[in-house]
């Protein structure tokens, strides 16, 4: 498969996953505000700034908007074209990548990407968002789920599929950890007996809801929301499809499907890093994480995920040509020939 095609499939899939995650995050936090009283600027700020920070674009946000309100944050994270991580930008990028490889994906998948792209860029989208944010976000989420379903149901399980999966799981691991980071500041110190207050309980359940993890968490841990258990659930659960460990486990498997290297070994940097991260997640407990500090842990985790993405790019997309030393001379000779051709052209 051409490297460019693999690259486009990978990013198409990442951007689809990104748009869906942002939609859930913003949607849940908007709804949560309905449970608050006394919404002054400081409360709003405390509520929204971590959400903006989770996408890593706080500086840009402060430059563009004077006040931090639900209105301004959603506008920034949903529609603003100068925010490269907004839903609009992500869907635009997903479509652009899909367009480059339109002959490689199914017509159904292309048509749906095209449909949601046309929707978010239409005046209808803004109107729907103003009148009923709930409907708006559920449109985005359903479309993303539809795209994932279409991918699962229609794409041939060949190399392209594995690159699509790589993009999906790498993005998912990253986004789940970022959503968790939104409330990491309100985690009680390890060993402290402080009971978390009502606002924080709402905040932590919003984290679960943003990852579609509320029901799965309740089934496992009961209805009481305990921050440490939430962190454990989202980072270390092996069988919840949006947990970091689950995503990394699948990422590790699909990486090996691309190269044909067995589990337990590695053939390139990406496989080495993914395998190492998986082992770390498999052999860590929540106490180990809290000992490092949740925010620090997530910071390190994101660095590792980025390194895997970078290594993947180096291994499959950008290939430096291996030139034996004695080729150097011949190459320069070639350049000489090229220069003489340029000279001939110059004469015309």
């Amino acid at each position: 498969m051409l490297s460019r095609v693999a690259n486009s499939l990978y990013w198409m899939s990442r951007y689809i996953e990104r748009a869906e995650n942002i939609a859930r995050l913003v949607d849940v936090n908007l709804q949560m505000l309905l449970d608050f009283r006394n919404l002054d600027d400081a409360t709003l700020n405390a509520h929204w700034i971590p959400v903006v920070q989770s996408s890593g674009d706080e500086e840009l946000f402060r430059k563009l908007y004077p006040r931090t309100t639900g209105q301004s944050v959603t506008d920034f994270m949903v529609f603003n074209p100068s925010n490269t991580n907004s839903i609009c930008s992500s869907i635009g990028q997903a479509r652009e990548n899909a367009r480059m490889v339109r002959d490689q994906i199914t017509a159904e998948l292309w048509e749906e990407i095209n449909r949601i792209y046309l929707f978010v860029n239409s005046p209808r989208a803004k109107k729907e968002w103003r009148e009923s944010p709930f409907d708006f976000f559920s449109t985005i989420k359903s479309s993303s789920l539809l795209l994932q379903g279409l991918t699962d149901a229609t794409i041939v399980r060949s190399e392209g599929w594995f690159f699509i999966q790589c993009g999906r799981f790498l993005e998912r691991a990253d986004k789940t950890s970022r959503i968790l980071d939104v409330r990491s500041a309100s985690l009680p110190e390890q060993g402290s007996q402080t009971v978390i207050n009502q606002t924080d309980v709402l905040g932590w359940s919003a984290v679960l809801r943003s990852c579609s993890a509320w029901d799965a968490y309740k089934a496992l841990n009961g209805a009481e929301v305990q921050p440490a258990l939430v962190a454990e659930f989202l980072l270390l659960t092996d069988d919840f499809p949006r947990s970091v460990r689950f995503a990394v486990r699948h990422l590790n498997t699909v990486l090996r499907r691309i190269s044909g290297i067995r589990e337990g070994r590695f053939g390139n940097e990406a496989e080495k890093l993914a395998g190492r991260l998986l082992a770390e997640l498999q052999f860590s407990s929540v106490d180990d994480i809290l000992a490092v500090g949740l925010h620090n842990y997530i910071d390190l985790l994101q660095g590792k995920l980025n390194a895997i993405g970078e290594a993947l790019f180096q291994a499959y997309i950008f290939q430096p040509f291996q030139t034996p030393d004695d080729n150097e001379l011949r190459q320069q000779e070639e350049q000489q020939q090229q220069l003489s051709i340029i000279r001939t052209v110059g004469l015309r």
Binding site: D103, F321, E334, V345
Partner: protein, 488 residues
Amino acid sequence: MTTPQPLDPFKNYETGAFYDEMVDSSGAIRPHYQQFLKHFTGLSPEEFAAKRTAVDLSFLRQGVTFNVYGDSQGTERIFPFDLIPRIIPAQEWEHLEAGLIQRITALNLFLHDIYHNQNIIKDGTIPAHYVMSAKHFRREFMNVKVPRDIYIHICGTDIIRDDKGEYLVLEDNARCPSGVSYVLENRRALKRTFPEVFEAGGVRPVSNYSEELLKVLEYTAPLGVAEPTVVLLTPGPYNSAYFEHTYLARQMGIEIVEGRDLLVRDQHVFMRTTKGLKPVHVIYRRIDDDFLDPTVFRRDSALGVPGLINAYRAGNVSLANSIGTGLADDKVMYYFVPRIIKYYLDQDPILPNVQTYLASEEADKKYMVENLDKLVVKAANEAGGYGMLMGPHATQAERNEFRKRIEADPRNYIGQPMISLSRHPTYCGEAEGFAGRHVDLRPFILYGEKAAIIPGGLTRVALRKGSLVVNSSQGGGSKETWVLYGNK
């Protein structure tokens, strides 16, 4: 209850002063259309409308579209398609086929001669300055051996018929002719629309084009490569013919690549794949010479592959078409094609040219500037209907403008008498019903081990009333082209 009225498409049909493809001057239907009309006139107007809508929708859904240049929205449009096929009887096709093969054979010999000994110039058959001043003459390619001595592998020659029904060659497209995907897609659409006609037999198939093309490409592979890797080089998704590129690549089962997917090392071409670099042996390029290699041609080209031309000269990769074939479709060279055929093959041309005046010949130029109102004036190197004056339909100001341009740069202009192109019944909307519209024909000629032409081609139709311009970029549409096994 009334029974649905069958279509009576030609009740008020007028052929006018033109040669009509379907109806002869006495108003009778020509024999090779009678079989089709037997089926067609059995349709009710409602059935006909339903078939039209179904075809348009299927083109849109599948993305059988072309991009409109200069439109920032990236608008994609379907190429309007008329359901009534243009039918060519076997006898006429044999004549066309013989003429086209004669022409491509002579043009390939001509290009080989020009890029080597230049005997045709030395013998005084063509003045040297016409060749040297041609925009697409590539002096960098003098004395370069090209695989199998084939320069033009794929040629799309535009054919028209005059008011007597004689087939004439209007121009040769010897660089990157496009449109063949419409030939194949139109056929599929019409087969779904009128299956019964195809069942009755008599129409020659076109679907083997992709196989034939792949054979030609593999035939030109560098010597010693047993299983050549063939790729199609496209300028990218924003090119107007991108649909065609993906279509042909998929049909041939080859990779579609952009310039940035390829790189050259040690004068060999490779493509970047997820499994490392893979050698490439034959490139069916749909990029113009100018953009192929920034180290040789346009240095600002971001579409090309640095070093590609060196690899080509070294014989490690083959290009189809070769470099410098644009010389053969220069409109001034066109004037000399009958002489070229005579010179290399010692034959008279089977398909005549349209009478042509060269502005760089003093007598011709005088005639041209004095008779601009009777002539079509064309720029020598432009395609797609750009840079053209339709004298009889132009305003005085437009004619004056062209008079100035001809005086300033006579080498770049030719003149031809206005030909009354043949017409073909075409559905023109509810108000007008079926009316005559001007058509041309672009068959696609493949030149490999031997010359082959798929029986058919792209019939383009000028949908605007009275218009003679059939290009897709200028309000043209297309028709299916049927070549029959027999003469009716």
